[in-house]
Amino acid sequence: MYTLFKVELYKIFKRPRTYIAFAAMTALITIIQLGLKVDGKEYIEFVLGDLSNTLQVDGKLCNGYFVCFCILNLLLIHVPLLIALIAADMISGEANMGTLRLLLSKPITRTQFVVAKFLAATVYTLLLLVWIAFLALFVSIFIFGTDDIFLVKNNYAVQIASNDIMWRYLGAFFFAALAMVTVAAVAFFLSQFAENSIGPIVATMSIIIVFTIFSTMSIPLFNKIKPFMFTTHMVAWKEFFDVRVNADNESIAGSIQRPDKIINSALILIAHIVGLVSLSAYFLKKKDILS
């Protein structure tokens, strides 16, 4: 299976379409950084809203950590499309090219085929996340410098000391990777039911949009299914930036307010990944290859 995995990786990184995602991320992040460099002060005032009248802030609010947080907030909605672009093509693309029959008549099992292909799609997803982390975090630090991060939540604000942030980003990116691998698993699962990648890409994005609407609307009927929808848990990376406070209402360094929420969400996402990949293997095993 290792050979098959290496072959799949080789094929992914030999395709020009693979690099669209990397180019798109570079362009988007650069544009956001440029915008914040030019008009960062106005943006901070907009984010703070009324707080700017009651709060006196020393230091640099528009720092690299804050910029990275903004970028992540914006991009984690768009990245799934770029992930689906590759993951949804993993099986449907082979059917479309006619290479599926050639691959599956080789001495490899269909389960090995599914696992190797999914692992290759996972590597692509992780590399894209690493690239985003590099651009959004390290390049932002280089451009904007570092300071404490000040985040405005629904009915409170959080301040985290600059020396307490890097590990949180590490955790957030790990979690974002898990969320994006879940998106890859959805696209990958749908990929086997089509003979070109457009259908699975559109279907994946439609599922994400519809589920996100369900996740954000507070309607009793939806509330019952919300805990089981992967979109509800995809945003749990933000929990890394919610800290516990002491009696003086000061942030406790190294703390997370709801670590159980992160663990629960991670487990649900992992369950989705395992379930979708297992179902992919099950359906592909039963499928007659007619392409």
């Binding site: 098959l4 072959v7 094929k11 090219m97 050639l102 080789k106």
Partner: protein, 308 residues
């Protein structure tokens, strides 16, 4: 001869369509097994079942004396196949395509092995070119290189001459004969063209609507007493009249499409030729057609397209 393929009572249904119906046949070691039938007869479905791409509805398939169900990987490692069109990764070079499938076939890959294989199919000078720029014939040759790279004992070629020019067709024919005679491989080749199959096959199976029509060696299927000869002359009506008043009258068939034809023993052809000259008939061509062709035309209800 050991049995390489043994198929018994193979059936496949797609919804209400019975694509393969109780098909049984055996391919022995060293055979060039011609698998003949018109388009949609069930040839590709059968071949796909041999390669585990399609699951049979019922029936037994054994290759190399082992059940395909229980020894899938082991069996597939000994098969080289080209199924219909040679679809490949267009964004990769010929060399990269061959390398990928060589690795997946389980053989030890070296640059020398790959280049030698490309040399065999005449693509060594295009090794680094992307497949998207290749002609159909070049893709077909690369497909064959992929099928043979791991030195399989059984080679399955499904419609290998589809879309090829006459030179390409002749090359494939030469390759099949070489695989059988020089490399001692067992070859199963499917086609809807009798002409293609009968030139290379040692045994032939004809199927129609998923059912076996006839199976046997070329000699068994070709009855020498039923050879059909077609005569084209300067005046076909006159030729027919002259022959109907001669000793050949009993061999004459009703004239159709202005073609005079006779059914006779193959050994009688030289004598017919001499008599035609003696009758002062100007002959443009005297063409032999096998009874197998008539048989094939009959079972496939005239949908067969004759090619030369």
């Amino acid at each position: 001869m050991p049995e390489i393929i043994n198929v018994e009572g193979l059936c496949k249904t797609f919804g209400k369509l019975q694509a393969v119906n109780n098909l049984s046949f055996t391919v022995n070691e060293g055979d060039v097994y011609g698998f003949l039938g018109q388009n949609g007869a069930g040839k590709s479905t059968t071949i796909r079942m041999l390669l585990t791409l399609i699951a049979p509805t019922s029936g037994k398939v054994e290759l190399f004396g082992k059940s395909l169900l229980t020894h899938r990987k082991e069996i597939l490692a000994q098969i080289g196949a080209m199924i219909e069109r040679p679809d490949l990764y267009k964004y990769l070079s010929a060399y990269d395509n061959l390398k990928i499938f060589a690795k997946l076939s389980g053989c030890k890959v070296s640059e020398q092995l790959l280049m030698n294989q490309l040399e065999v199919v005449g693509l060594a000078d295009r090794a680094k070119d992307k497949v998207k720029g290749f002609s159909q014939g070049m893709k077909q040759r690369l497909g064959i290189a992929i099928a043979l790279i791991h030195n399989p004992a059984l080679v399955i070629l499904d419609e290998p001459t589809n879309g090829l020019d006459p030179q390409g067709i002749a090359d494939i024919r030469k390759l099949i004969i070489n695989l059988s005679k020089e490399q001692k491989k067992t070859v199963m080749v499917s086609s809807h063209l009798l002409n293609e199959i009968e030139q290379v096959a040692t045994r032939i199976l004809i199927i129609d609507k998923g059912k076996k029509i006839i199976e046997g060696t070329k000699q068994e299927l070709l009855d020498p007493n039923q050879t059909v000869v077609e005569i084209e002359s300067s005046n076909n009506g006159n030729t027919y009249q002259l022959l109907s008043n001669s000793s050949w009258a009993s061999h004459l068939q009703p004239i159709t499409n202005n073609i005079v034809s006779l059914t006779l023993n193959k050994n009688q052809i030289p004598s017919l030729h001499r008599n035609l000259v003696e009758m002062n008939i100007d002959i443009y061509s005297l063409q032999q057609r096998h009874s197998l062709e008539d048989y094939f035309l009959k079972v496939t209800k005239g949908n067969y397209v004759h090619t030369v």
